[in-house]
């Protein structure tokens, strides 16, 4: 629709534009500068935010997209858009916006490297002692030799369950492979109640039994009626 005569513009629209504050005008300006595809994403994110089934997490996810699309929180990046992931991880210890966090981050990175080094050394030693090749270990773990090689050359950090799988494959205790594993297990057991999202079979059966039980019968008796004098 093209409007040649300004009088054709509804007065409500004029009033709406005039009532915008600076922040709202800036928001609209940024939106108008976006490409059609990005504008469409922004509109669909507003729809997500207003959807009746949207969770709080989804609302945050959608808001993060709108902020990103409209450059509402401009931050230093690597290149025209986004961040180089490995570089961002290297920089986090030295460029964390909260100065007090930097030593904590650096300490954690050192700890992880130390854990990975100890793991690799221990597994290599056991492989030598037991005369097992990486290929044989991979076959016992049902994974590729390349995966084993990456973990032993400290290019890839094993998942916790991989450590357990490897320990079984090597017939050793998991704590023989990974430093601090016992401490982690204790912490996990403390945190377990929070992780209890699924019922066990026994719990489910007990719940079924309880819910199918007939309601408790409450015995009542009529109150004596009062007779007015």
């Amino acid at each position: 629709m093209s409007i040649i005569n300004l009088n054709e513009i509804p007065s409500d629209a004029f009033r709406a534009v005039l009532s915008l504050n600076d922040v709202q005008r800036d928001f609209i300006r940024r939106y108008m500068e976006c490409s059609d595809e990005v504008q469409s994403v922004v509109r669909s994110m507003f729809a997500v935010i207003e959807h009746e089934h949207t969770t709080d997490d989804d609302r945050h996810r959608a808001l993060a997209i709108i902020a990103d699309a409209l450059h509402l929180n401009p931050e230093e990046g690597h290149g025209s858009y986004g961040l180089d992931f490995p570089r961002s991880q290297q920089e986090i210890a030295t460029k964390h916006p909260d100065l007090s966090r930097r030593p904590i981050v650096a300490k954690r990175l050192v700890q992880m490297e130390s854990q990975e080094a100890a793991f690799a050394d221990r597994v290599k030693t056991i492989l030598e002692q037991k005369n097992i090749t990486q290929q044989q270990l991979a076959e016992r773990m049902d994974c590729t030799q390349s995966a084993v090689s990456k973990m032993l050359s400290r290019k890839a950090r094993p998942q916790r369950k991989t450590i357990f799988k490897m320990a079984t494959a090597l017939d050793v205790a998991p704590t023989d492979l990974w430093p601090d594993l016992e401490v982690a297990a204790i912490l996990d057991s403390i945190a377990e109640p929070f992780n209890d999202r699924e019922l066990t079979q026994a719990q489910a059966e007990a719940l079924d039994a309880a819910s199918s039980r007939p309601p408790v019968e409450v015995k009542t008796r009529e109150l004596p009626s009062r007779k007015r004098p």
Binding site: V48, A62, A64, I65, D68, P86, A147, Q159
Partner: protein, 131 residues
């Protein structure tokens, strides 16, 4: 990218990430000690091979029909047990094969239509802006 790329066995991908993905992870895993574990695991995506079902020791799947992929990783955290990480391939410069990490959620959260809209929206912005 719905069609699997073949012949990428020895390829090492460049990994990139948008700001919304960082926000996802900060909200999902507020404790840095645990988030650092997640970040460390994500480095494995450098060796993603569309022809293999595992990235080192992490399972992954296509999310049809979006062309996105999901990677599952377990955390040693009592609150978030398994995380689903959404990623996709977009290489503005074909000589630098690039994977984009779009964000993450708990694996027990359903990937319904609203979340498809969210992550597809993120991939649209990457395609529109990355060069």
């Amino acid at each position: 990218m719905n069609e699997p790329i073949t012949g990428t066995g020895c390829l090492e991908w460049r990994l990139r990430m948008g700001r919304p993905a960082f926000r996802d992870f900060q909200r999902l895993v507020p404790r840095y000690s645990v988030r650092s574990e997640l970040n460390r695991q994500l480095h494995k995506l450098r060796w993603w091979n569309p022809d293999e079902p595992w990235v080192v020791d992490l399972p992954w799947n296509w999310v049809q029909p979006t062309g996105l992929a999901e990677l599952f990783l377990q955390l040693d955290d009592g609150v978030v047990h398994t995380v689903r990480v959404l990623f996709f391939e977009h290489s503005p410069n074909p000589s630098v094969p690039t994977l984009w990490i779009l964000g993450g959620m708990r694996a027990d959260e359903a990937l319904g239509s609203l979340r498809h809209a969210i992550y597809s929206g993120r991939s649209t912005i990457v395609k529109a802006r990355a060069d």
